[in-house]
Assembly symmetry: C2
Homo-oligomer: 120 residues x 2
Amino acid sequence: MRNYDVYSENCPTRLLLDHIADKWASLILWKLSEGPIRFNELRRKVEGISTKVLSQALKGLERDGLISRAVFATVPVTVEYSITPLGATLADKISTVTRWAEQNIEAVLTSQQEYDARGA
Amino acid sequence: MRNYDVYSENCPTRLLLDHIADKWASLILWKLSEGPIRFNELRRKVEGISTKVLSQALKGLERDGLISRAVFATVPVTVEYSITPLGATLADKISTVTRWAEQNIEAVLTSQQEYDARGA
DNA sequence: CCTTACGCTTTCTATTGGAAAGCTAGTTTT
DNA sequence: AAAACTAGCTTTCCAATAGAAAGCGTAAGG
């Protein structure tokens, strides 16, 4: 392993960070770490995501080897997304960030109010 | 603390996640966790960031109470950014994600090559 | 004087994000 | 038997954003 550095502009880790340090990717990976899930099921759980964005995000995560896609010839067709072992190790780290958001939102909201009051 | 949930479209945690699950925010917070740093110094360390984007990102992080800004009346003026105690707790979680990227980039690159080969 | 430095802001354009509609195919509702 | 709904997307379109580039004000250094 050579000296990869996310602070270097042309390091491949920078592109990877751009994929994973992302709101939708975080939500998708965390949800998939609970178990396999179908496209529209996932779409309903991740409120507010459009089909286009979900589709693109899933493709990207699959390309990075973080999730896998399985097609079942049912009627209508069933497509199931699962997390890979590699993806699971990342979901673990990412979940601490999303949980941090839920745990510290009130402190952040207070800070925002103070900031806005100062600037007004 | 009420039931905050990042998967709910209108939950404030969703907006917060949008701020912190971000490439630039991650890099800035992690760098600031090493100690206070000036604007242009930070700009040089975080390769590839433009002044506009850096400026916007710093404002957002300050508003969220994750970093603080100190102005010194030198000539030319010195502006120093530091991480807050709240921000430090987040930087800790985020750093595990960026380090994950550096540690697993090779597995990801391999996966990408395989994916592209299958699709070609 | 012309360049450099600091810490931005402003302007501009190319890319992207997301809403909405379309699509194929089958199954339930009215 | 026609309408509407299901699944899993893709395509189209417009608005918002990302980022490159230039500007700005002040002052020190060559």
